[in-house]
Symmetry: C2
Subunit: 546 residues, 2 copies
């Protein structure tokens, strides 16, 4: 009989750009999100979990008459007899579904509506190293309030959140700016009605970190030869216009040096004095009397700039007023510049927002791939956007909110030793006599009833070496052994695997003899002895080092 | 100028068959899953979170040469220059991804590998009332162990899990059966090599609840006229064959009446005696001496049946031996028939499994849509399946596991009052004077710092009635009011909204006067007074009734 040709075996791989998370990678993230949810809840935010799938129509950005409207998203068409099924897609963020939910349920939801959402989002982009097509987001937004109090609240909540998950005060800073200030600068430059050149200026500002002040000057003026030798056309601004932009972007440098000065971290006594002064100053156009020559020089000379830069622009002045209002509100709640600063240099993402914008940066140093020191950088950002549900209802609804970069924050916590690396595996009860499996199961039941993480070896027990290799791979702190002799005597052997590993690595013969890593105890003392060993290694019953 | 025609507004709706979860719907599920994860962790199971998206090839079931292989799943083709991109799909369960992960990482994973997974899965099916196309699953599986100890462990863990989330002992029962027993019955009927008729018998068994014993007899024999008048062809079995099947399926009835008998719930003293007797009995073919005439009649006459029904079938005997081994192991861990019973009547899902199968049922009554009493029914099920990774590697790997119906279990907990309905909203601080927003923010900051869930009203404060309506919609237990007069006097008004609602509904005029629902306290006593009111209503700082 001819052998039937078999189909080739499927490849066991994740799709490109997707990944799996194992063990602590899952539980550490879950714990962090749980803590964050606790803070959000305390602030009166309610959980919302939308489905992963939305209609392409509701997600927006895509044209329904395009054959396959999946630019940037994973999309497919519903089955339908006449081939006219809806196009569906995986959500690419948590804000678009919020807009849909608010438009759909606005009559049943409280107004303002404070909600938080946590979960994966999907992007149909080219994957790269460390760039995945599915990742977590964690958002909090207040919909339906135009009050600056909503923005101040989000900033305060963000500070509380970072501390709650384990970033100590001093290791982060939240910077607040306002989109209207930049609009004011553009207006003062005479670009209020020139959308094209305004956009070009914003794009150029975003390149500041890359090309520096001289590069920005060139790009705003006549143009510039880039690294590859190609000529980039300039925006064609006048020298005076260019000075205004430079004044604006150089604010960033000024603020950075200010934040590193001793004054910025001197928060003894009145922690919020400085914010109060900032607020006063933002309302006037000269330094408050109470600010001495040498004090707060950087920050205040920066603010001084801004009053000049926005000149007579009403929008610019409104932006400075809004900044002042946010500063006042934060001051009233006791959030000083050791946690939150008004910082007009924040430019990232400005294009999307309509009022206040905020960004949380971690200020401690890490080593990059090449071993160079650099600041950890941004872990969260957000701001006010007022067109949330207008697409659906025609009615503008003000909204403001924050998105935390879950993977980046988790990486920061690992960097600071706040999560990870300290959880051992379960206690492993080995199987010496397969006929007595019931006895071994009874042992793990005793251990578990005492809250101790424990398991019996369920592989083929013939080769004892394999069992010890298994315990090693599981990261087990303790192995329990009960052969026929032990059983007859009513005892068990308890092997301290952590101590055993230390001894194997370092010990002299004397130490080896003095500190036996294996002890025999009566079966009835099993739980007590295991608990004692875990405690000696600073582990709780779950195998965690608290 | 002609008005430009605008695109129609998008509809703000979820796609058909999808839904959103709000507030407590999200947090209650998260809390339940968190508790379940705690039990799984204690049993040595490790978390695994795979991506929502898999290649259609890895998911299996689908032919790569079909134009659009999305039968039952949501699938799409990757963009690719030559149109030959991979087909991707949303996972339809958590087992298929486990198979892929184990095949992909088997050299790095411990063997056996115990893992749990929780998350949404997607089915491209026609939605119906209460039937959604995205829902949660919660699985635990042990891969790489052929030992019955792995199955016994899963059953024990399932019992612990149900109690941990709040189903009290006595309100659930876990039934264990073995696929090989039914195979043995089929073999004894002479159908061992007749796959077609074996499958027809299994399908018929599944219809027992619907058509009853007489209906099953007809369907196994000559055929049957169904309710619509259509004639259903019979399987064409002999009378003797039919008797064997009836003997098997009627086991269900026998067991049910047994479980309702006083003996079944009499678990004083040796809780597990019965399982031990069951195990002894499964190994022999007569009643153990220790079993009296009247005791355990139903259960043991059932087991008596089975020895007869499988006759000389080696597979059937193996199945009974495996059942006995599981019973022994559970007995050793103290799991008596008040929690877990060997029950050969479990037929559901047998087609998929190769050895032990188990099912958790909640035994308390609920009222159905029509007000009739019925048992809550199944909330979890699972069993042993040995072809998990064979598709990928060619190597058979034994595995056994359980899947909890998350939505059903949550519904059961709501039914029992274990979750839901007891969480109030946040304390709402109203805004009497919008210029003093900073003061109100300071109040909520004080409340939050004391751990009390609190928020300031962020809508337009002009109409005070709207603020109180908002507090009502938020389910706020307390509202705080500070107008200009109060501010001048350094006091705040605190309104007990729960008491207020009670008084509004029931109180006489005297009570109204005696129990004022609004009190004035010094601003400094705000936190203490709010805490006192929450405590008086049995609420903790988060607004929950513990």
């Amino acid at each position: 009989m001819a052998k039937q040709k078999k189909a080739p075996r499927p490849r066991a791989v994740t799709p490109k750009g997707f990944r799996d998370y194992f063990g602590a990678q899952v539980t550490e993230r879950a714990e962090m999100l749980n803590r964050i949810a606790g803070v959000y809840h305390r602030y009166g935010f309610d959980a919302l979990e939308t489905s992963a799938v939305e209609t392409v129509e509701a997600l927006g950005k895509f044209l329904p008459d395009v054959d396959r409207p999946n630019e940037g998203v994973f999309a497919w068409q519903e089955d339908d007899e006449d081939g006219k099924g809806d196009w569906l897609a995986l959500r690419y963020d948590l804000t678009a579904p919020l807009a849909r939910v608010y438009a759909q349920h606005r009559n049943d939801l409280p107004t303002p509506y404070r909600r938080y959402a946590m979960g994966p989002v999907w992007r149909n982009e080219k994957p790269g190293p460390g760039r995945y097509r599915q990742f977590y987001q964690c958002d909090a937004d207040t919909v339906g309030s135009a009050s600056m109090a909503a923005d101040a609240e989000i900033c305060a909540m963000l500070a509380d959140t970072l501390e709650e998950v384990g970033i100590p005060r001093g290791d982060y800073i939240i910077r607040v700016n306002n989109r209207k200030v930049l609009n004011g600068v553009l207006e003062a430059m005479g670009l209020a009605d020139d959308e094209e050149r305004s956009a070009a200026v914003m794009r150029t500002i975003d390149k500041f970190d890359k090309v520096g002040e001289a590069g920005v000057r060139e790009l705003l003026g006549k143009g510039r030869l880039d690294a590859s030798g190609a000529y980039i056309d300039g925006v064609g601004l006048s020298d005076e216009q260019i000075e205004r932009v430079i004044g604006y972007v150089s604010a960033k440098e000024t603020t950075a040096s200010y934040l590193e000065s001793p004054e910025a971290s001197d928060t003894s006594g009145e922690v919020s004095t400085e914010l109060k002064l900032q607020a006063e100053y933002l309302r006037s156009d000269s330094l408050p009397d109470s600010v001495g020559e040498n004090r707060l020089e950087g920050q205040f000379s920066l603010l001084n700039h801004l009053h000049d830069l926005v000149a007579d622009s009403e929008e610019g002045k409104k932006g400075l007023d809004e900044l002042a209002e946010v500063a006042d509100l934060l001051e009233a709640q006791g959030y000083g510049p050791d946690r939150i600063v008004i910082d007009p240099s924040v430019v990232r993402g400005l294009g999307y927002y309509t009022g206040p914008v905020y960004e949380a940066e971690l200020t401690f140093d890490i080593l990059d791939d090449k071993g160079r020191k650099r600041q950890f950088g941004s872990v969260a950002g957000g701001g006010r956007y007022d067109d949330l549900v207008k697409r659906f209802t025609g009615q503008a609804v003000p909204a403001t909110g924050i998105s935390i970069g879950v993977d980046r924050l988790l990486a920061a916590l690992r960097e600071k030793g706040r999560v990870g690396g300290t959880e051992s595996g379960p206690v492993v009860v080995t199987v010496m006599d397969r006929e007595r499996m019931a006895d071994y199961q009874a042992m793990v039941a005793d251990l578990r009833n005492a809250g101790i993480r424990a398991e019996v070896y369920l592989g083929n027990p013939k080769n004892f070496g394999n069992q010890m290799k298994y315990a090693d791979r599981r990261g087990a702190p303790v192995a329990v052994i009960e052969g026929g002799d032990e059983h007859a005597k009513g005892v068990v052997q308890i092997k301290d695997l952590i101590l055993g590993a230390q001894i194997a690595e370092n010990a002299t013969l004397e130490e080896w003899k003095e500190r036996p890593s294996q002890v025999e105890v009566p079966r009835d003392d099993l739980v007590a002895k295991v608990r004692e060993i875990l405690a000696a290694h600073g582990l709780d019953a779950g195998g965690r080092a608290p």
